[in-house]
């Protein structure tokens, strides 16, 4: 009987386990997670902080006997090394766990910037349920909160903090908010929006030191001093793959995999935030820390682990963010390419913005603000590399025709004359 060991109890680990079970009813499956809670979703933590859900609402699966019924063993442990010859994982505490197939789905960990005082009491990351409990204790009504970082994770927890009634200051090193997801127009709109909601935003600035008195006192690169009851470190994350250093498993920023999610060691796979997967579109390997990609990589890895042949088509960067009610998205190469074409439509008063990037007659990337209707077609167009034909000029003239362009070009529904129509696929 084949034994599949999965390191990591996040979405990638759980989806891989369930996919293996679906296709290999007799195989043994063990998920190893290093936190005490049942498998849960970090993505749900902001909603816990905002008080919309209880801790159980963050759990990836709600039926208490879900894993038991699927005959998936979920156990606590932390891998310290992998013996690729004996095919064993060494766990903290000395135990060794044998495997036939191994999936590395250990996710990512927050990075700790080299700031004096970063280890002071009252400075927390916002990553685990345990972090959330600390933050909920300190982020009470009227508390002064300093958030380091206004990237994707920083922006998404901002709403939760605002809901808790804290006095919030946000410091971001980049020249705008969410600089790795949104262009200058959108980043500027998000900043103005946050400021209008009473949040102090400092972009192009960083925290230089934190003094651990009560209250905490942070010195900014702008010369300002900010007093805080709580400092949240949201300066970024990186793949949690430290335990693989010194092994023969090839690493880049993440665990390098081929399009079938296999590492350079046969039978050992990686998926999710810790994986640097082969992107067939660009021919490069990419780390993409977003659940839809983690889920797809986990499914592909699992199918290969049970002996099927499946490969990842591509790794499209996609993101959606709700910053205090202002909803923004990014897809693919939103920065555009040299020689490409670009159209942008902005209404700052209404808080709406669309930015589309083209290469020839293909949409290669997009940013949107305040645009939620059928927004998924942007993924359909980008990932499908759909030739827009005449629809490209329509979009350059009026970017809001996105859904029609998708239906017209990707499904050609607007032009079909009959089943014999050549545009039909």
């Amino acid at each position: 009987m084949t034994h599949h060991v999965i390191l990591g109890a996040g979405p990638a680990g759980v989806i891989a386990a369930e996919t293996i079970r679906k296709h290999a009813p007799q195989d043994a499956i063990t998920i190893v997670g290093d936190e005490p809670e049942p498998p849960y979703s970090r993505m749900a933590i902001p909603y816990l902080l905002a008080g919309n859900i209880a801790e159980a609402g963050t759990h990836l699966r709600h039926a208490p006997d879900h894993f038991e019924r699927q005959r998936i063993t979920v156990r606590r442990g932390r891998a310290v090394s992998i013996d690729t010859v004996e095919r064993e994982v060494a766990l903290e505490g000395g135990e060794r766990l044998g495997f036939d197939r191994l999936l590395i789905a250990t996710g990512s960990r927050p990075v700790k910037p080299p700031v004096p005082g970063i280890d002071s009491p009252g400075v927390h990351t916002c990553w685990t349920l345990d972090d959330a409990r600390h933050i909920m204790q300190l982020a009470t009504k009227g508390a002064r909160v300093l958030q380091m970082g206004a990237g994707f994770i920083g922006c998404i927890i901002m709403e939760a903090l605002a809901t808790r009634g804290v006095k919030l200051t946000v410091v971001e090193m980049g020249d705008r908010m969410v600089p790795r997801m949104m262009g200058p127009t959108a980043g500027g709109m998000i900043k103005a929006w946050c400021e209008s909601k009473g949040i102090t935003v400092r972009t192009g600035a960083r925290v230089e030191a934190i003094e651990a008195e009560a209250p905490l006192s942070a010195r900014l690169s702008t010369g300002e001093r900010v007093a805080a009851d709580l400092v949240i470190n949201a300066t970024g994350v990186k793949p949690a793959i430290g335990f693989l250093e010194g092994s023969v498993i090839a690493l880049g920023v993440g665990v390098l995999t081929d399009a079938r999610m296999q590492t350079n060691v046969p039978g050992i796979y990686a998926a999710g935030d810790c994986a640097e997967a082969f992107d067939a579109l660009t021919g490069k390997t990419v780390v993409s820390a977003i659940q839809p990609n983690a889920a797809e990589q986990a499914r592909i890895a699992a199918l290969n682990m049970v002996g099927q042949c499946a490969s990842l088509r591509q790794v499209t960067q996609i993101n959606v963010l709700d910053t205090l009610g202002m909803i923004s998205t990014s897809f693919g190469n939103w920065q555009g390419v040299t020689g490409g074409e670009h159209v942008e439509l902005t209404d700052e008063t209404l808080g709406r913005h669309l930015s589309l990037q083209f290469k020839d007659d293909v949409l290669i990337g997009a940013n949107s603000v305040g645009w939620t209707d059928q927004v998924g077609v942007l993924r359909g167009l980008v990932e499908g590399r759909v030739h827009l034909g005449p629809w490209k000029d329509e979009l350059l003239r009026d970017p809001t025709l996105l859904s029609k362009a998708y239906l017209g070009a990707a499904q050609a529904q607007g032009q079909w004359v009959s089943a014999a129509d050549a545009r039909r696929r």
Partner: protein, 158 residues
């Protein structure tokens, strides 16, 4: 027997009865803006195209959900959003490449077609048979017949 919505855009007149029925079924108001089925109007060709979720087998939206708010209705096969569980993170709305899961500002949750539990209101409202709810294995029949007719009536190359 698995049934699916079968949309024949050629029969659609753009009357929007489906949108009215959908919004009434789900929100008890006649408000096409709240409908989960949308009719797109192609002015240049005169085509009207009703469009909604195809209920993918390996559904992107379902796998993208961090809190198991989208599950499979075992009776109909529909991928159904539980409003009580949905946290409103919107990740499903960017994961679905068809754009058929959408965020609803008023509720703070997402919505998508759930086949009305097996009695789709849009099919009952459609006066021209452009939207029907039929056995999944029969959806391609008309298309196959047209192809067969086209190919079967070609002169044979010698």
């Amino acid at each position: 027997m698995q049934k699916v919505l079968h949309i024949d855009a050629g029969k659609c007149t753009g009357c929007l009865q489906c949108e009215m029925a959908c919004s009434y079924e789900n929100y008890q108001v006649f408000a096409p803006s709240k409908s989960r089925i949308k009719v797109f109007d192609f002015h240049a060709t005169g085509k009207k195209v009703p469009y909604t979720c195809t209920q993918c087998d390996e559904a992107w939206c379902l796998h993208a959900c961090p809190v198991e708010a989208i599950t499979v209705d075992k009776a109909t096969g529909a991928k159904v959003v539980s409003e009580a569980t949905c946290v409103g993170c919107k990740v499903c709305t960017i994961a679905c490449p068809f754009g058929t899961v959408n965020y609803v500002q008023e509720t703070g949750k997402v919505q998508k077609c759930d086949l009305c539990g097996g009695e789709p209101a849009c099919t009952e409202a459609c006066p021209t048979g452009a939207i029907t709810y039929i056995d999944a294995n029969w959806t391609g029949l008309g298309r196959m017949a047209e192809w067969a007719n086209k190919l079967g009536n070609q002169p044979v190359a010698n």
